[in-house]
């Protein structure tokens, strides 16, 4: 099976979906002649033309507004936000409008709109190229939010997103783009939205995580196994709707949970996961629900030392595993 990086899987999937369905169009900054800031759309304008690969002005509200208008009129637009940090001007178009189309028209209209949002830190991106933006979207009824962490899931979930009849936010972690290589089947397949996956089975505790942290958690779990701790790693993959059955099943079985996320903790994905566990696993818990997250400070710092201090790392995860395992 061919090996690909995440960015290669994303690129191939977009190309395949555009060939499969001519209503799929791309909108974004520098996605045409420049091929996208991460080269996700390299060569697309040559193949599909400027009518389907649309270079937009530097205005995210316009990108998402245009995409929404096209979506309710029969197209399947795929918008690219250059960096998640720049998505905020489009919040009204996404949260205030796109999320409410189906409800607001009593099901008469839907918004089959996909927005790719490269996010996350650990890339020396500092204040404006490192943000985790998932919570606002994951909080919003009417939106679907996926966060694939592997090339396989990147392809399968992006295909599911593009084919969905409702708006989907696809969060791609920038650091994984060229960092993670894995097998990707050449043929057509999708990964179902709303389904988490056990990426590493174990019996002593469950790590619930997503995005780049999945890979750090897997490294830490591997190191923990040498100390005799058998750690399960559950990759959420979809952040809205959360796969509460998978979370409850795993945590009920292991009795201990460590939630790891790159985002700050207050009112975050980890808060919701913890609530689900509290509601569904209380009588199976052998330890308090634990979380490993960055501290509550506004941005990802630029200084390498401070960025390292901010981000969870395999070592920090391993230390948290050990502490929880020995409890």
């Amino acid at each position: 099976m061919p090996e690909q990086t995440v960015i290669e899987a994303v690129r191939d999937t977009m190309r395949a979906e555009m060939r499969r369905d001519e209503t799929v169009i791309l909108l974004g900054e520098d996605i045409g002649n420049r091929g996208g800031v991460f080269l996700a759309t390299d060569g697309f304008i040559e193949e599909f033309g400027a009518d389907r690969v649309i270079d937009t002005p530097l205005a995210e509200s316009l990108i998402c507004g245009l995409a929404l208008g096209a979506a309710v009129n029969g197209m399947r637009p795929l918008a690219e936000i250059q960096f998640a940090d720049f998505v905020w001007p489009a919040i009204n178009q996404i949260v205030g409008e796109a999320a409410r189309v189906r409800y607001g028209t009593n099901g008469l209209k839907t918004a089959p709109l996909t927005i790719r949002v490269p996010y996350g830190g650990g890339v020396r991106g500092g204040l404006y190229h490192s943000q985790s933006v998932e919570v606002l979207f994951a909080h919003t009824p009417g939106l679907t939010v996926v966060a694939p962490a592997t090339p396989y899931d990147a392809k399968g979930l992006l295909a599911s997103a593009i084919r969905s009849d409702d708006p989907v936010i696809v969060l791609e972690h920038k650091r994984t783009y060229r960092l993670v290589k894995g097998e990707v089947p050449a043929g057509d397949y999708t990964v179902p939205i709303g389904r988490a996956e056990i990426k590493r089975p174990g019996s002593d505790m469950t790590i619930v995580t997503y995005g780049l942290m999945l890979h750090y958690a897997l490294q830490a779990a591997e190191a923990a196994s040498e100390q005799g701790f058998d750690v399960e790693v559950l990759d959420l993959r979809t952040l809205r709707p959360l796969d509460s059955d998978a979370i409850a099943e795993s945590v009920s079985r292991t009795g201990k949970v460590l939630i790891v996320q790159e985002d700050t903790p207050a009112v975050s994905i980890s808060s919701e996961v913890a609530a689900i566990i509290g509601e569904r696993c209380f009588f199976d818990l052998d330890a308090p629900i634990t979380r490993l997250t960055p501290p509550e400070i506004p941005p990802m710092p630029f200084s390498p030392l401070q960025e390292a201090a901010f981000m969870p790392s395999p070592e920090k995860i391993l230390a948290a595993i050990t502490k929880l395992a020995e409890l």
């Binding site: 960015i7 020396r124 991106g125 920038k174 960092l179 290589k181 199976d284 490993l292 981000m311």
Partner: protein, 448 residues
């Protein structure tokens, strides 16, 4: 000093680059920020600036080489001391499980991390984020409960639940958790090793200390639990019906009083009413086969053997030793068998053969003073008979149209029967057959 020049991070997602043309040669003097080498990535092409002032001494990556970000591409001699971060102490391997030679399908799909793909800022100073030592002070880690001497007495929800489920006394377990905390694993290990209440290691039911007026919760012994399950099974599966008659056992009482001493001297066995009753019961079972049966999978199974269980109150609970082939035995044989069985039951030295194969049960509740009972059938049998206390009572006897009140020894016998198999008529016929057998005993009877 020697300074190692590393390939700096360019762009947010780039992990490797191709070395282009070197703009300086070994031995050449370089000023800080002088363009040193061209690098080509799939995102950008750029010149790498010299990280310090000094002399280029060695080129380690040649033109055309593909090099991961952060790897050393050259060495230089600096004019002054320049600090260089060297923070690699990989206590956690940089590759996840997927990088192993035996790659599982799941691991292959998860993928591997490109080696050396950690980033450094433009300028060459490099700090490896993912491999830097843990900095717990700054990262937020939600607090697990701190260590305390009271952990032994704090139980997690799952520990409490499992302990109740399996009857484990948590105060007897040695916790392996922090501060001696009893963990889920500790409970499961205890269950596996059979350390539950009432097991061999803790023989008697333990009564937790309770304040006056508080309810006491007692863990049942395994035998008690078995009895409980058996009773529930019988009562829920079998539709019970009850019938009772009274028996004039004056003759039997007289016979026993007259023969007891001789019998015990001759045979060395105690003579109680039980073998006499059992003899009548066994004979009645022979002529009433439906009483000696079982309801099995929607069919009535009439038993070929007549094996009568006799309920015995032992220390740990109710035991029902079985007298096998009771219908073919003489009074002496019955007395001898019963004597041995009861002795073994009370001294807890029963064999498996002593308790299995019963087809009907006889319970002498009269020994405890009871005068009436509605026993629960010993599943899967079809009926159980209790013989109640023998009581002297005034009884009206009609003889030649004259009613006379006389004092007689009377005993009630009560039958609980499975109404799927046995109706009232059959139950009564059986009871009357037992009565007839018992009332036929008088001073002239010869059993031996």
């Amino acid at each position: 000093m020697v300074f190692k020049i590393e390939l700096p991070q360019v762009g947010e997602s780039v992990t490797e680059a191709v070395i282009g043309k070197w703009l300086k040669s070994p031995g050449e003097h370089i000023d800080k920020y002088d363009p040193l080498v061209e690098v080509i990535t799939d995102k950008v092409n750029m010149d790498v600036p010299a990280p310090a002032t000094g002399t280029l001494t060695k080129i380690l990556a040649s033109e055309g080489d593909t090099v991961p970000m952060g790897s050393v591409i050259a060495e230089m001699e600096t004019d002054e001391a320049v600090t260089q971060a060297d923070s690699r102490s990989p206590s956690v391997p940089a590759t996840p499980s997927g990088a192993k030679s035996e790659t599982s399908p799941l691991a292959a799909r998860i993928g591997t991390l490109v080696q050396g793909a950690n980033v450094g800022p433009t300028g060459g100073e490099f700090l490896d984020t993912s491999l830097s030592p843990p900095t717990h002070d700054t990262a937020t880690e939600s607090a697990a409960p701190s260590q305390s001497n009271n952990e032994k007495l704090r139980f997690s929800p799952v520990v409490t639940r499992l302990a109740a489920q399996h009857g484990v006394d948590l105060t007897t377990l040695a916790g392996t958790g922090l501060g001696g905390r009893v963990t889920k694993k500790d409970v499961l290990t205890a269950v596996e090793e059979g350390i539950t209440a009432g097991s061999a290691t803790m023989p008697s039911p333990r009564v937790p200390r309770a304040a006056p007026g508080d309810d006491q919760v007692i863990e049942p012994t395994p035998i008690r639990r078995m009895i409980a399950d058996h009773m529930v099974k019988s009562m829920t599966e079998i539709p019970h019906a009850w019938s009772a008659i009274e028996v004039d056992v004056t003759g039997m009482v007289e016979w026993r009083a007259a023969n007891r001493q001789r019998f015990e001297q001759e045979h060395g066995v105690r003579l109680t009413y039980l073998p006499i009753t059992l003899r009548s019961v066994a004979a009645a079972l022979k002529t009433n086969p439906r009483i000696n049966s079982s309801w099995v999978d929607g069919k009535m199974v009439l038993k070929g053997a007549i094996n009568v269980g006799v309920a015995v109150a032992a220390d740990e609970g109710l035991i029902v030793p079985v007298v096998h082939d009771a219908a073919g035995a003489s009074l002496l044989e019955l007395a001898q068998q019963l004597d041995g069985l009861i002795e073994r039951a009370r001294s807890a030295s029963m064999t498996l053969d002593d308790v299995r194969g019963g087809t009907f049960t006889l319970n002498n509740t009269g020994a405890l003073g009871s005068v009436w009972g509605g026993a629960i059938i010993n599943h899967p049998q079809a009926a159980i008979l209790t013989t109640e206390a023998i009581v002297k009572r005034p009884v009206v006897i009609s003889h030649n149209d004259t009613d006379t009140v006389v004092v007689r020894s009377m005993m009630n016998i009560c039958l609980s029967f499975d109404h799927r198999i046995i109706d009232g008529a059959e139950a009564s016929a059986f009871l009357q057959a037992v009565r007839a057998g018992l009332e036929a005993v008088d001073l002239n009877s010869e059993f031996e």
